[in-house]
Subunit: 317 residues, 3 copies
């Protein structure tokens, strides 16, 4: 889509000078010269100055920070404008035309499995009944996908993975822009999910696709049942996450993260590798140290939490 | 069913004087003159005195409060009697006869989708593979229902909704009456769920149908993954509920309720509109104020919770 | 499989003296003379001395405690060796040959239901669309299984049960042995799940199969939505478990356990019968008393927890 066409559709002014073909939307940091980005908060002005984006949704006040070569698309509510723009780049919910899926040798596709257009399934894969594999999905070799699993369009599952029944890979991230009347406008989630090799996902998990880019479960990670991953989360290699944990959006966790059941991790955090978290922890801040055991809410070292509980118990006497 | 027939089936005495046709069961407040109700606890005697119910399961001690025109059906254990009565009004699990579903123009029904008897699906709807739409379901226009979703019989989904994969709308509420031996007798959940227009539900949620009446997710509300709604909950318009929150039965929340992940809300509460709740809050009491931010367990203002945590941290020094 | 063949496959030495046919793996306590077991921690040396196992994976240091008649299979990392051994006994993910399922009189099997090889479904059962019943499953009479449910191979569901949509029975327990490089080797979960008579399971639950033996939900227990049961858990008769609770592996709970929403129970605990737990409790230790009400994290009597919260609230003044 031409930038001028997008701008017109959104009711924004766009000088013809900077017009070009636009392929999608992205964050200030990751946007290429064919993508449009946005500045939501003044705190990200540094990212704005350094962006390669073709154009940026930006308020009048902050437009002066838009770098040369990037078109400033002036709007009172950049985040809301972004939300409206995402719809223009959302793919079809389901493709009805296109090449049939390709399936490798020795692969068993059970009754009732749906394979989307343009999808590629590797060799010696087993897919149990009534699983949904959307369009343009890639699945590696030797992977087992149990029944009633859902892999949304454009997602990838590696080789030697196991996905248990009922798990959802690639549902929309929870992204909405509020209007001034307090209503929510959907931010279409045009990214995907990549499940790398040797990953096991438990039953009835939900792993949201990225708003832009990729939500990623890295090589060798093991995830228990009923775990929730928000959009753009990255879980490090050889991590083990127990049942009912939840990860808010855009958080990254280093390799060998070990987590007990029912933990929560706030959004936009970075957790260093090789840390452990006791069950029910709430990770409320980024963690730079490694090889420690944490617990509690707010998060602290587990030994501190135990000490604190002992002190509290004394209050009862 | 005649009231006398119901009474006989339950082993209760019923004078022929008050006999009439009964259409179902309901709470004291909502029961019409063709419905039967019950008095569980003396605390609800006021509701009993004001009821329009045709008849009431009630203990001998409290029978004097049954208003004129309402038949008192005397029983030692009114709640247990109610449980037995609900079975008499439970519809079939699945209809095998009846009119085929009607589907609007431009609607795409994928392979493996089940459409129940008497259901009506609007125009330009997309339903992805292997989704189950029970009997007598209503779905509005332009709605997208992803794969392996379940909408139980008699439920409604509005227009412009999105329901992500694996979500269950209309499963039975968690209602059982204990016997004196500590066993549980099922209270059949004969109500339904209504999802109003412009609602988005995440993946693998579970929204229970009402015991009587309706569990309701109101217009424009957005719900993340793995959220649980008990029977008879009402979530207000334009609310946003993050992942893994849980709502116990009969709680109502006003419009623009904003809730972080893994919150819990106790049953039978009323939460005023325009409030926010930090992640992991437990709403332990009704809230009458608006435009506040709450957190903690038991619930308090979030700023108090932060202050409390700071004080507790000092105990460690 | 011959013990000598298993040993060779695992690269372990095995004298021909003790060679015999091996049927599977099991814990030290439960292993029969045709099963192999393992000693993970010195703390279980007593169980080793009393085991009936045909052979035991054991470190050199602890091999002296292996009883007469049991073969010591010496390995530096017994738990890792066990993990490798489990793969040798894992059944096929899905059988493609074998006898068709047998279905009782008056049973309704809806469209899209998969019935595995050798499975037996009782009389007057209702199974709604797109549910997956794996191989060699037993289902009793009068049971209702809603749509998109998953019952993995070799599991059992009793009579008069109700299983709501999306629930998974028999997914793999979360068991992995770490290598010295911090990678995880899967412990194949070769046990099963038994759901006894008169049980109701809510929507989108996940009940893991046992690593060895059986995960068991006992007669008359009622379970709400989105509840997670780890491998080898036993839930007592006539228990009632509210939404989003989670049970870590190998914990046993006595009859009439009543639990509010979002509770967690640590692994390898024993909870005496007739106890109640307030919502959000974390059961951090075994409980020997009965007829008490518990709450909090760490667990304490609920009245103590309320008192503690009242004291903490005073800190704010």
């Amino acid at each position: 889509m031409k930038l001028s066409v997008l701008a017109e559709r959104l009711g924004l002014e766009c000088t013809h000078e900077g017009d070009r073909e636009i392929s999608g939307l992205n964050s200030l940091k990751d946007a290429t010269s064919s993508e449009v980005s946005f500045l939501e908060k003044a705190a990200y002005v540094k990212d704005l100055a350094a962006t390669n984006a073709a154009a940026v949704f930006v308020s009048k006040e902050l437009a002066e920070h838009v770098p040369e070569g990037t078109v400033a698309l002036i709007t009172d509510q950049p985040y809301l404008t972004l939300a409206h723009a995402t719809k223009a780049f959302a793919p079809a919910v389901i493709e009805t035309a296109g090449p049939d899926a390709v399936v490798g040798e020795g692969t068993h596709i059970s009754a009732g499995v749906y394979l989307g257009k343009g999808s590629v399934v590797g060799s010696n894969v087993t897919i149990l009944p009534n699983t949904f594999i959307g369009d343009n999905v890639r699945i590696g070799d030797n992977t087992i996908i149990y029944a009633n699993v859902n892999v949304y369009r454009d997602c990838e599952v590696g080789s030697n993975c196991i996905i248990h029944a009922g798990t959802v890979v690639g549902s929309d991230g929870f992204g909405f822009a509020p209007t001034r009347l307090g209503e929510f406008v959907k931010i279409y989630q045009n990214g995907n999910v990549v499940i790398e090799d040797d990953v096991e996902l438990g039953a009835n998990c939900a792993i949201d696709r990225a708003v832009f880019g990729t939500t990623r479960i890295k090589k060798g990670a093991k995830v228990d049942n009923l775990v929730h991953f928000g959009h753009n989360v990255e879980l490090g290699e050889h991590s083990a996450i127990a049942g009912q944990c939840g990860f808010a959006g855009s958080t990254t966790l280093g390799r060998n993260t070990i987590m007990g059941g029912q933990c929560a991790v706030n959004g936009h955090l970075h957790v260093a590798p090789f840390n452990q978290f006791a069950g029910r922890s709430v990770v409320t801040k980024s963690i730079k140290e490694s090889k420690k055991v944490f617990g509690g809410f707010p998060i602290m070292e587990q030994k501190s939490w135990l000490k604190l509980q002992a002190k509290l118990a004394k209050l009862l006497k």
